[in-house]
């Protein structure tokens, strides 16, 4: 996959690891570009995530992380580029299309209704109904519990309102909600931001569970410590381009930081796109 963007593969050492799950990625994006007026937020960026892996998407502010996520989530479709889901070319013009394709995004604000209980939130907008269109609370509670259990989530009660839950528990509920929507690709936007140590642990554990269930997980994070703890691969964006892919096992945080800041290149990346990018932290 990294070959797509690196003409000089010989220079690479640590990046583009031999991924255990060879074959077609669950989600692959090729040559994604997007501009906002004169600002080129993404230029010819590639991206891929396999089933059963966690990919960390990192980069400095303005690197294009959010833009890329919005392209995947259908919130802000790309100007050009192709998206493949399980090898099939798809278009994601709006969020509904993304949801239909099994792509769910858990935004930082989590989009939960504080005044409703956990079960109500899990099934919001797609409640199960039984007799005379009345809500089938028993069935919903059962299915909700089953999903929460599969994610090893611990909460006081599924009938307590979301307002009473801790930050980590809320994150868990938001993720469980996406699972209930038959997600195959889950995007997590800064899942550990503003969480305490114990709660961060809880969420990282949750991310591992998602991977173990065979989902393709994308984590956007500023926190490299968390990234290194949970992801399999790190994809680094800088100034709208993909500048590096690292296998977490053979990489140090310093290398990733170098790629994020462009320290080892000693020059700003050409934004006109004429110069090809080195897909690594340098020629080590």
């Amino acid at each position: 996959m990294a070959e797509n963007i690196t003409p000089s593969t010989g220079e690479m050492s640590s990046p583009s690891p031999e991924h255990p799950l060879n074959g077609e990625p669950r989600l692959r994006m090729r040559g994604i570009s997007k501009s906002f007026g004169a600002v080129r937020a993404l230029y010819q960026a590639d991206f891929e995530v396999y089933a059963g892996e966690v990919v960390g998407l990192v980069g400095d502010n303005g690197a294009g992380k959010s833009t890329l996520i919005k392209v995947i989530a259908g919130v802000g479709p790309a100007d050009e580029g192709e998206i493949f889901l399980e090898g099939q070319k798809v278009s994601i013009p709006n969020p509904q299309a993304a949801n239909r394709l099994g792509i769910e995004t858990v935004y930082q604000d989590l989009a939960l209704c504080d005044n409703l209980d956990v079960v109500a939130n899990l099934f919001l907008g797609r409640e199960e109904r039984s007799f005379l269109q009345s809500l089938d609370e028993v069935d919903m509670e059962k299915r909700g519990l089953s999903v929460l259990r599969s994610l090893d989530v611990k909460i006081p009660s599924v009938r307590s309102t979301v307002a009473t839950l801790s930050g980590g528990q809320r994150q868990s509920v938001a993720v469980a909600k996406s699972i209930l929507r038959q997600a195959t690709v889950v995007l997590l936007d800064e899942p550990t931001a503003a969480l305490g140590v114990a709660q961060t642990r809880q969420v990282l554990n949750l991310i591992r569970r998602l991977r173990d269930q065979g989902l393709a997980v994308v984590v956007i994070s500023h926190n490299l410590a968390d990234v290194f703890e949970v992801v399999d691969r790190v994809i680094v964006l800088r100034l709208g381009r993909r500048v590096g892919t690292f296998d977490i096992k053979t990489t140090t945080p310093e290398q990733v930081v170098a790629a994020i800041t462009g320290a080892e290149f000693g020059e700003l990346l050409a934004t006109n796109g004429t110069t090809p990018t080195n897909d690594s932290s340098g020629g080590r």
Binding site: D114, G125, D152
Partner: protein, 427 residues
């Protein structure tokens, strides 16, 4: 997805046994997820802010009732007075029920009083001047309410004008329209027997046998619903409330319904407006708690953005709530007209404020998403008791309105404090 769940269905045994201790071996399904130990220890204050939020309101009502019972020398709690009191507040309650629908969205409707009177004027105009049959006139009045509510909702939900302004403009506009319809006539007497039968005659009471049968059916349905739910949850391996609480709930409801019916029967019977009021509350309670629509209303009130992202049609929910509000206002207006056997060009200024105050005093949050439709009963009883009791001890409207203002201020303050406390503990 289900296959994924199946695979990971078995939690590690050590974990399972660990948490089973918390669950008390009661519900194996929930045991792996629900850890009551995670529930932060709650103070009484926090519980009062939560599901027991109605207790302070109930306590306030009891204090008011006891105070008037003493100061009126036992006049207050006689069947005659209670019956009168309920008749006085039923139409305010119906309006308040509509207010709850928009309050749950975090919106407000200031046009309900104008709409109520306008719809009753249209009804009276049709029945008295055009000679239309009573039911046609009533239907036309209700339909006017539907249309007005739809227009209000359209401006709030689609054009996104703040509901405060939309409904204020509507209130002024419809007040003018009803003057126009009355052609300068100050009052229009209603003679139509069908319309008067709702509340305006000495016979506007449910037959005692019918009342008893109806109340037995209601209690039986309530009990059956609870038991059915209990059995289903038990079978599904979910947590259930204790049997004692189950029986307790049924007994409490049976006592309340039976007691109320007994009081009414010992005077003249259950007034139609009161039966209509409680019937409407029961219907709206079912809609708000047992259907997707109701769930979505609470969701929009809690977080419109989250609701929108969950695929809920927020615009539809908003328009529907405003439509229901105005329709209920029309219903209340028709009852009011029937009770007064006339429609007047003058809109009672306390009507709007009492309806909104009743909803808020009852515990429905002004900020949306919190409160039960049953709140209107407590709220309207408090307001009705104040007005009625103060009149019994020969205090005028002046004192009554001052006291009411204080009670309303307290209720809104409590609401704001609860909201602040929840935001503090929320994250």
């Amino acid at each position: 997805m289900s296959d994924i769940i199946e695979k990971n269905d078995t939690p590690e045994p050590s974990e399972a046994s660990q948490v089973a201790a918390f669950g008390g071996g009661q519900a194996t399904e929930a045991a792996a997820v629900e850890v009551p130990a995670y529930m932060p220890r709650r103070t009484i204050g926090q519980m009062l802010r939560g599901e027991l939020g109605f207790l302070p309101v109930l306590f306030t009502l009891l204090v008011i009732v006891i105070y008037f019972q003493i100061t009126t020398g036992g006049l207050f709690l006689t069947p005659v007075n209670v019956s009168n009191l309920m008749g006085q507040i039923a139409y305010v309650g119906i309006l308040g029920l509509g207010v709850i629908m928009v309050l749950l969205l975090g919106e407000i409707d200031l046009s309900i009083a104008s709409v109520a009177v306008l719809c009753s004027v249209i009804m009276a105009d049709l029945s008295e001047r055009s000679g239309a049959p009573g039911w046609v006139a009533i239907l036309a009045g209700l339909l006017t309410g539907v249309v007005i509510g739809f227009i209000n909702g359209f401006f709030v939900a689609v054009v996104r004008v703040p509901s405060f302004i939309v409904t204020l403009a509507a209130s002024i506009g419809y007040a003018g329209l009803l003057l126009n319809l009355l052609h300068g006539q100050a009052t229009l007497i209603i003679n139509n027997a069908f319309i008067l039968a709702i509340a305006g005659t000495a016979q506007s009471f449910l037959d005692n046998n019918v009342a008893i049968i109806l109340s037995v059916i209601v209690v039986a349905l309530f009990a059956a619903g609870l038991v059915f739910n209990y059995v289903r949850r038990k079978r599904a391996g979910l947590k259930t409330s204790s049997l004692l609480w189950l029986v307790g709930q049924i007994v409490i409801v049976a006592l309340l319904v039976g007691g109320a019916v007994a009081v009414f029967i010992s005077y003249k019977g259950v007034p139609y407006p009161v039966a209509l009021f409680f019937g409407l509350i029961a219907i709206f309670w079912l809609i708000m708690t047992k259907t997707s629509f109701g769930r979505h209303v609470y969701a929009v009130g809690g977080s419109a953005e989250a609701a929108r992202r969950a695929g809920i049609n927020v615009v539809f929910i908003r328009i529907a709530c405003f439509t229901l509000c105005s329709t209920l206002a029309a219903t209340g207006g028709i009852v009011l007209a029937s009770r007064g056997t006339a429609v007047a060009s003058q809109i009672d200024p306390t009507l709007l404020l009492n309806a909104i105050a009743a909803a808020v005093i009852g515990g429905v949050s002004l900020f949306g998403g919190r409160g039960s439709v049953w709140a209107i009963v407590l709220g309207v009883l408090i307001i009705g008791s104040l007005v009625n009791g103060l009149a019994l001890i020969n205090q005028g409207t002046d004192v009554s309105e001052m006291v009411e203002g204080v009670v309303l201020l307290i209720a809104v303050t409590v609401d704001a404090l609860v909201r602040r406390a929840q935001m503090r503990t929320g994250r």
